[in-house]
Amino acid sequence: MSTSLRTEEMILNVGPQHPSTHGVFRLVVTLDGEQIIDADPVVGYLHRGTEKLAEGLQYTQIIPYTDRLDYLAAMLNNYALVHTVEYALDLEIPARAEYLRVIVMELNRIASHLLFLGTYLLDLGAMSPFLYVFQERERIVQLFNEICGARLTYNYMRVGGVKWDAPPGWIEKVRDFIPFMREKVKMYDKLISGNEIFLHRVRGIGVITKEDALQYSLSGINLRSTGIAFDLRKNRPYSLYNQFEFDVVTGKNGDCFDRYYLHLEEIRQSLRIVEQAVAQIPEGPVLGKVPKLIRVPAGEYYRSIEGARGELGVYIVSDGKDKPYRLKLRRPSFVNLQILRKLLIGQSMANLIAILGAVDIVLGEVDA
């Protein structure tokens, strides 16, 4: 008779309908007691074939589709597409349009980071921050609503400029928003950053090393949290970013706390950029001279921008027609999510949500 206890691994399906997977994401976790011995992320539940659809659409028509990728930062997606097309066409963009783009992009980055803060704290069990962030986000969303008529799917940028000029008083509203937001960032610092329970749950958890970050092609905050100062706004400036003063904030340990804190810091940096942009914005047209039917010259083009979640790139193969021959989107969430398996193995089950939340994914972008 055997005296050893028979143990069994437990397979736990986290998702696709689980409160903390932020959408339809499934994680098949194999557990040995409380320890995770394997984790298999399953994606594709939100796959809409954007890349395939884009092959049958004109460039202007693709813009609304990009709204639906990373739906928390649609302005940045808009920009990534039009920027690549403009790059391919070597288009000159009117100055005012570029300034408006920078303002809305940075505001959108703030809104997106705010939502990360809220949902991350909600994942960790604190529910008030989730409701607080929506207040500031609401102000940003209202600003967007005034400038482009939509709260989430903006469809604001056009090849060669932006669709609308800022309505009267809009720039002032953005200016008023900056000090308000600064106060709120301080409040979050006070509410969250010092909380012992929070610190215990995120410090030293889900550590990414520099080498791993590079090997796994991480980008955005996931990469910067490891200490690598790689921000496309600085390293490969596009739009007007070389004219603004801001810092690339990096973490030290690459743990969940760094990733959380970098979101707060990036909100501060984005506020700095918005402040400068609002102060400098010139008058003028907002749409440059663009042919009615945009035909990208044959060839292949890749441009990437610093999205809210990392390097957001658009790769266009054109055969000279008004529709792309192939459009590939480099979605930062999709690439960043790959490291999840490596981060989870060996951790205890209780850290799963803290790690998953800190990677900061948007399923619309993961699945495209």
Partner: protein, 330 residues
Amino acid sequence: MFSWQTQPLTWMHFLGMLIGAVIVLFLVLFIVMYTIYFERKVIGWMQNRIGPNRVGPFGLLQSAADVFKLLLKEDIIPANADRPMFLIAPIIAFVPSFMVLAVIPYTATHIFTAGLNVGVLYYIALSSISIVGIVLGGWASNNKYSLVGGLRSAAQMISYEIPLGLSILGVIMLAGSLNLNTIVTHQATDRFGWYIIPQIIGFVVFVIAAIAELNRTPFDLPEAESELVAGYFTEYTGFRFAFYMLAEYVYVFAISALGTTLFLGGWEGPFLPSWLWFAIKTSAFIFFLFWVRATMPRIRIDQLMGFAWKVLIPVALFNILLTGALSLIL
């Protein structure tokens, strides 16, 4: 002071006791209804929302509507569940929550209170029976999340019973009695005033352990919705779910009442009627629980266990030593 215990048991007295029990039952249900309402309002206000306001004036009937909804809902029993256990678990969790209320002295006249000489012990002993209901519910649901939730709650609640009991020991040493009525009267005459002052360490330990016993944020691991969906009652619906909810909120009231009695002087206080003093103190205690819930993230399970065994129990033991030493010296 009138007490049922000193009277001979006649049919009339039995009837009186029965009526008294039913009154307490309804009173508690009423209190629970408005505890839930209070929680939703307080947390709503803290989150810049207005909270429930649709049913009745100021949403006062919201909880009643919720209870009705739960009672009218279909009672779904999962096909693979352990049927008898699944059915009985909510009741096991729920019944002790009411029974513990028997020893709480609400007013100066103990009309509804059993002046039990082992009142504190009775409370702690009965409240641990609820754990059985929770573990059974988690097990019988045959759901992995439920199971994890149920086992977590077993580990957590048993661990936190110890610091809870130890933190009360200090009070018992000062009062020299396990009877809750006596503890309240002692506090009125004690030279330090309410026991929160000489027993401040014990009080802090008590509050932390109480929150953990209640499975409330930041110790709400058994039902951590972002990890375990709903923990041990994931599979429960309708009135069985309502039983769990009810048990949870009765305990919120009961533990607040116990804390009030042990540390805040119970019904004792000047000018106002004693029941009002009791209500005010208990509400303040409950408010604190909700306030913490609105602020804190959730602690991790291993940290939670470590906290109980490595921090709370030593602190509580130290408190007992300190109390003993101080009462010898002073």
